[in-house]
Assembly symmetry: C2
């Protein structure tokens, strides 16, 4: 059975999409079968992989019209990586589901039918704790929390942790924190070191050892519709996401 991992943090711009796309790509290069769900109406993971979702069904269809996920899979440049894209109608999903008694478990129901076909399923979440993110957390085995090495991001970490605890107590007893990934770390900058120290002090081994540095190749790669390891395999950005993939797999082996 594949492991379903939400990439979530209500703080905006912390590297959720960048981590979901590049970690998924790094695992696919290592021949793991990977599915990425773009669950953000912004559709950044979709364009970050160079996919044009116009005219194609997206995750909205699986959620609202219960279309089978297998009909919505899109190929990417990597043989082992499939995507279910996001389309603009996803913006309306939250209002459309508000009176539905099963509104919290729609995504889980959709993913149950395909999870055996993949080793990993990642869900890229929007920057909020509303119904879409709740759906992702209910469907997941664990949550990967990207954390930008900045003050506002550090301040907000307790909110996503509390939300996970709430989901665990009411809707998904098995959910756990996969880990916190420090992103956009700038070694020349005091603030980065302060945030990293604080996170390691509070969360210990729940913080991944691998740190993602601020790296211009990472921010350039989406404009070419490629994960960073297909854009510049030798960049610090590519290397750090491949390290993160190795660390994630070895965490799984120890489970």
């Amino acid at each position: 059975m594949g492991r379903i991992i939400s990439v979530a943090n209500q703080k905006g711009g912390v590297g959720k999409t960048t981590t979901a796309v590049n970690l998924a790509a790094a695992l696919a290069v290592a021949e793991k079968r990977v599915l990425l769900i773009d669950f953000d109406p912004q559709g950044n993971a979709t364009s970050g992989l160079g996919v044009d979702a116009n005219g194609h069904g997206g995750i909205y269809e699986a959620l609202i019209s219960r279309r089978h996920i297998r009909d919505l899979l899109v190929d990417t440049e990597l043989r082992c990586l499939k995507l279910v894209p996001s389309t603009i109608d996803l913006i309306g999903a939250e209002v459309e589901l508000v009176d539905d008694p099963e509104r919290d478990t729609r995504l889980k129901a959709a993913l149950d039918s395909v999870s055996a076909e993949f080793d990993y399923i990642f869900i890229d979440c929007p920057p909020s704790l509303s119904l879409l993110t709740v759906n992702a957390l209910v469907a997941s085995d664990s949550v990967l929390i990207p954390l930008q090495c900045e003050y506002y991001a550090l301040e907000g970490i307790s909110k996503i942790i509390r939300t996970i605890e709430l989901i665990r107590s009411r809707l998904n007893p098995g959910i756990e924190v996969e880990g916190i990934v420090l992103t956009m770390f700038d070694a020349r900058n005091n603030l980065s070191h302060q945030v990293a120290d604080e996170i390691r002090r509070h969360f210990g081994s729940k913080a991944f050892t691998t740190v993602i540095p601020r790296n211009v190749r990472i921010s350039e790669s989406p404009s070419f519709g490629k994960p960073v390891l297909l854009y510049d395999i030798n960049s610090k950005g590519s290397i750090s996401y491949m390290e993160l993939a190795k660390e994630l797999v070895s965490k799984g082996d120890r489970r």
Copy 2:
């Protein structure tokens, strides 16, 4: 009558809170009477100004229990800058208002009673286009759109522009785009120049001339609960936000 300006962009982490806090502070230093509304449940503008909102009422009370804004004002370190803080219960407001026929105009009704007492009222919006942001746009004369000089942020600009047009046609015929502010501009980085050129080509004079550089003092100042001009007045960050304040005021003079 004070000018009510929403600081909005559904893309996360583009500098909405940083711009709202530092522009409000720069205008207050220039003796303009300024009110900042923290309309994001994350509460970053509240902590960015060093305010502890625990035990104090916030914008949630004005929205849901129709408390008077004047009762919710909090002083800041700047005589001419007042804040209405955000509290965690704001997270529930969207669900609580969903069946209310006046759900779109609650904030406008709350601000009408105080707008004459200020020269500028800024509303710091969350990273989404949901009910809170709609309330802010309905209450506003104009929208200031911070835009991080990155690919995903550029890709998303059409979504906020389209939302403003939708609000103009249905709920607030007078709303206009105050301008697009380029943020976290790094002169050494090609991507920054490409994004800036693209924005100036598309939006012409709707893009502010002032560009906010990536500046470490800006990202350090919230950890001290101060706007950057009270943390390091000589930093490039402070200077750029004071330039932006001057440009905003002179735009107003020409209206």
